[in-house]
């Protein structure tokens, strides 16, 4: 079954700006895919629709077979708990420790301290930052902050991870490490959708690529087609 499905989705903002136009695609359960395109191509809007930060103007967005337009305001928080999000500017809270930042989704979901501590430590261990749990995020480097953001996104064990330019401000080596983390999550069955315009990085990885331009689907490259060349250039052109 498709994990995420866009069915002829359009999104226009008041004032007439058309962010997405008649977009249709599917992400399968356990799939990892890149979403690429210039800034303004509609990548962020697409992710916002999945997170219900925005609602589609036309068409349907389905996650786990559920039409998001049917969710009431009261159900939105529970939908968001099933999706882990990593932001470009990581959205960490500097008034609390790394541990508390990662613990936030668990506190919201209603975990008791003992369970919570175990899970937070596991998530921090996974991103290699267990030794920093008591520090404030402001003391960490950009790459470390991004990894705290990833720990927070996965601590609740979501079945779907979205990332919006997760390597935006990082050097190639750190970017590769971050991508490696996402691949590890994907290895255990988690669906991952990463919006990125880092074409070098995307080109070196052998995953599916969905390219957007001006809110429309420009082209796709299936996983394992990296060596085919032609379709890669078709994507990079976007």
């Amino acid at each position: 079954m498709a994990h995420v499905r866009f069915d002829n989705v359009s999104k226009s903002y008041p004032g007439g700006h058309q962010a997405l136009s008649e977009l249709s695609f599917e992400i399968n359960q356990g799939e990892i895919a890149f979403l690429t395109g210039h800034s303004g191509a509609g990548k962020s809007t697409l992710l916002k629709l999945i997170m219900l930060m925005e609602k589609a103007s036309h068409g349907q967005v389905l996650v786990d077979g559920v039409n998001l337009a049917r969710l009431s305001n009261g159900q939105i928080p529970y939908h968001r708990r099933r999706v882990g999000v990593v932001f470009q500017n990581h959205q960490l809270l500097f008034d609390r420790s790394v541990f508390e930042n990662v613990a936030l989704p668990l506190r919201i979901s209603g975990y008791t301290s003992r369970d919570l501590e175990r899970r937070v430590r596991a998530a921090l261990d996974k991103v290699g930052l267990l030794r920093y749990e008591k520090k404030s995020p402001i003391e960490l480097s950009g790459g470390e902050q991004q990894r705290v953001g990833i720990a927070r996104a996965v601590v609740n064990k979501p079945s779907l991870i979205l990332a919006d330019e997760p390597t935006g401000n990082l050097d190639p080596k750190l970017s590769r490490e971050i991508m490696n983390l996402f691949e590890q999550f994907n290895d255990v069955g988690v669906s991952v959708l990463i919006a990125s315009h880092d074409l070098n990085l995307i080109g070196r990885l052998d995953h599916r690529v969905i390219a957007l331009k001006d809110g429309r689907l420009l082209g796709e490259r299936a996983a394992g087609e990296r060596t085919a060349g032609g379709s890669t250039s078709g994507v990079t052109r976007g």
Partner: protein, 329 residues
């Protein structure tokens, strides 16, 4: 790095495990989060002691003012109860009423529910009291027969029932056999009750106005707090925080403000009453009254503090519902 231990239990069905939290542990976590939020909100207030103290004192003044009026009114009521005791109705009997009828009538009146005490004063007694108190014994002795009627002196038992009860009693007494007329200085009793009524309404009006002020003060404080924690609210909403979760710290902040305001108001009132009690008791003892200045009862004190908490919570709730909806991720 322990590889994959985070997702070790995740199968192809993804993160389905996360929904398997038992109701019991969910409740435990809910209570735990309430405690945590309460403590965090308090610590946050104490982190900026100057600003918080200022808010607390303003709230305390707003809460203490109507309570001061209320305590004053309660004391006047107590004083007026003493006056009720001294307000008496004189029931004049018809001339030539036989003493045994008069005695029986006195007993009947004594048995009425709104009567505290009824005392029969015979014409002879009245005459001798009159001559003794006026010093006109020579004149009295010169009289051929006693011109004074028998009187039953009645002290009503009103228990603050208002002036209507006195009038009812007066009417009942005047309809009894052998009664010539009933006399009562009702006007001052009426005035007193009117003043108390007025006082009571003033207390309510002032309490309503200042209660509104408390709501606005707390609402505004919480609004600023919401603005300063905007980022946090956004993140909490993004990772699936419900509205109740987002509201919780602000509601606790309101409760702490209200509780602090209520406690300080209680202290202000207690100090004020203590400060006034000396002079008032001296003044009252000069009038030979056994009036004792009433402080705040335990019930009133708890009510004051509870009102503070309630207003704090409600003010925060109003502010949060108004402003939180505007913060959308």
């Amino acid at each position: 790095m322990a590889k994959n231990n985070l997702y070790s239990k995740v199968t192809a069905s993804g993160g389905a495990r996360q929904s398997r939290i038992t109701l019991q542990s969910r409740w435990a976590a809910y209570v735990q989060h309430h405690k945590l939020t309460a403590v965090e909100s308090l610590l946050r207030l104490l982190k900026s002691p100057g600003g918080s103290a200022m808010t607390w004192v303003v709230l305390a003044i707003a809460l203490a003012l109507p309570m001061t009026l209320y305590v004053s009114l309660e004391n006047v009521k107590q004083l007026s109860r003493a006056w009720d005791q001294s307000s008496q109705i004189s029931v004049y009997l018809k001339a030539n009423t036989l003493p045994r009828f008069a005695q029986a009538l006195t007993q009947d009146i004594q048995d009425m529910p709104t009567v505290a005490q009824a005392v029969y004063i015979s014409p002879e007694q009245a005459l001798s009291e009159f001559s003794a108190s006026t010093g006109l014994s020579d004149v009295v002795q010169g009289l051929e027969n006693n011109p004074l009627p028998g009187v039953i002196s009645v002290i009503p038992k009103l228990d603050g029932k208002g002036s209507g009860a006195v009038e009812d009693l007066e009417l009942a007494l005047s309809q009894l056999r052998h009664v010539e007329s009933v006399q009562l200085d009702l006007l001052w009793v009426k005035r007193l009750f009117q003043f108390m009524e007025l006082g009571q309404r003033l207390v309510w009006a002032l309490a309503a106005l200042l209660g509104l002020a408390v709501l606005l003060i707390i609402g505004n404080t919480i609004r600023l707090s919401i603005e300063s924690r905007r980022d946090e609210i956004l993140v909490v909403k993004l990772v699936g925080g419900t509205d109740a979760f987002v509201r919780r710290p602000f509601l606790y902040t309101g409760i702490w403000f209200g509780l602090g305001g209520g406690l300080i108001a209680y202290m202000l009132l207690s100090i004020g009453l203590y400060w006034l009690s000396g002079p008032i008791e001296n003044l009252i003892s000069l009038y030979g009254s056994d009036f004792v200045l009433q402080g705040l009862s335990l019930g009133d004190s708890l009510l004051l503090i509870f009102d503070g908490v309630l207003l704090g919570w409600f003010g925060a709730w109003l502010a949060v519902s108004r402003h939180l909806a505007k913060i959308k991720p």
